[in-house]
Symmetry: C2
Subunit: 288 residues, 2 copies
């Protein structure tokens, strides 16, 4: 747990060899080991508070809105009636904070495996954990796989807010996970999963898309800018049970006054469409 | 010049306080001090060769195509007839490499102040410096300001490929620079300048846009993903001498076969449009 050296936290991982992003740390707010992973929460000097799991930055106060808004509204705004939603993971509460804003969402369930992440986020990261206060939410501390096995044909949208494919999240990128997602969805269901970045995980993204395509006829991939993630970017796999649906065109388009009312700092209908446009080299590698 | 510690180059700057990006270095290929700046060229372990000026990463073999293609084709593809082009800066040759590809460009001039950057790029960074081989190019080693004072009403497009607003590039973000650009342009002229990122330089970007607006009636701002730049992103200021022109819509749209022929790894017509779409919070801050 010697994560901070000379006042800096450095994120070194075999997932992105030869590069390292560091944040200057003012104070360690929590450091512990849960049943599943190392949990570290720090106050940085310039990026607000940060949650770090197994040595990998999950979110900082500086830029978390990009990820939380995009992973929530990309699927919610292409589903015609996302009344019931499931969030798998997302123990900091940030995705719950966004999901509860959508006017068509009547109720949502969140299943997070690691209670320590929830509890410590409530204490140290209230700007995200306020999502847990939603009256629309049922929060379950359990394994997402197990939960879905017992809840079939139940959800309109399922959002998988996982960490990277190492440690507790490794199963959330496999074919069997996408099979399970399919059974938990109602007809016309839509999923959205954190899916890594094409800059350093191209093969992983290709593999995840391939796994998803075995069970979903329509699959697409979007990105958003998140400076404190490796390569400054994160990807989203969005998929539908329906054929021939265009996931890049939102069916719910928030008006400017709704963007203000919901305090959306990143997501809007134009960003939705633009996020699916990929550079030539990645477009070819992913879809050919 | 103690830039490499324990095999890593770390980019620490007051321009982006509290964060630091590091690259693992296999070998230092060149280290020198020119009249203008510290010049460092390294072979990294995973990101190819990298050019570093005054301790700031200018480009790596891994991701330079994003920047070089975008800063070149954003302006070239919205000008109806970009016959004569000026590049200010760009001593590594990467922008020249892209500009010479555009079928409507008949000739272009490049003015770079630092001969050491040109010479060392030719030796160590041929994948970019091959741009200097273009028969369309006249290369001048001199100050961009001075050059433009003596070349008025001459260019259709001017691209400013500068480093960040510290050191030799500081003047390239001022009002007097935009005034000079205007005089060097022919009617209907278009400019594109490196303009920093909204994530950590929001005030600088606002200021640069403000300076530009004093001389150009149409000003816009785009971004592209460049993992080894601070925040994983870089911005481009695109401006036109004409009123009511939509800089987000390319007039030259490359066909798929042209994208292949020109070996474009990032830029295409869809990316062009998408690159101008900003998250809500930045859109408001920049344009209100």
């Amino acid at each position: 747990m010697d994560a901070i050296r000379k006042g800096w936290f450095s994120e070194i991982s075999d997932l992105w060899p030869g590069q390292c992003f560091s944040l200057k740390v003012k104070e360690v707010l929590f450091q512990g080991k849960s049943k599943y992973q190392d949990v570290l929460i720090v106050q940085t000097t310039n990026h607000g508070k940060a949650l770090i799991l197994d040595g990998i930055i999950q979110c900082t106060e500086f830029d978390e809105f990009s990820y939380q808004e995009m992973i929530s509204f990309l699927p919610l705004c292409v589903h015609k009636n996302p009344e019931k939603v499931l969030i798998v993971g997302g123990g900091d509460g940030g995705v719950a904070r966004e999901v509860q804003k959508h006017p068509l969402v009547k109720e949502f369930v969140q299943v997070e495996i690691d209670e320590m992440v929830i509890e410590q986020s409530k204490i140290h990261l209230p700007f995200m954990a306020k999502g847990f206060d939603s009256a629309k939410l049922t929060l379950e501390v359990c394994d997402g796989f197990e939960y879905m096995k017992n809840h079939q044909n139940e959800f309109d949208v399922i959002i998988t807010d996982s960490s990277d494919p190492v440690g507790p999240a490794v199963n959330l990128f496999t074919e069997s996970y996408f099979k399970l997602l399919k059974t938990a969805l109602k007809p016309h269901g839509i999923i959205c999963s954190q899916a890594g970045t094409v800059w350093s995980d191209l093969e992983q993204v290709r593999e995840t898309i391939k796994n998803c395509k075995k069970h979903f006829p329509t699959v697409s991939y979007a990105v958003s800018s998140v400076p404190t993630y490796p390569n400054g970017q994160i990807g989203y796999l969005v998929a539908s049970l329906d054929k021939e649906v265009d996931l890049t065109k939102p069916t719910t388009k928030f008006l400017d006054k709704e963007v203000d009312e919901y305090q959306l700092r990143y997501y809007n209908a134009q960003i939705h469409e633009a996020s699916f446009v990929l550079p030539n080299s990645f477009k070819k590698s992913l879809w050919n």
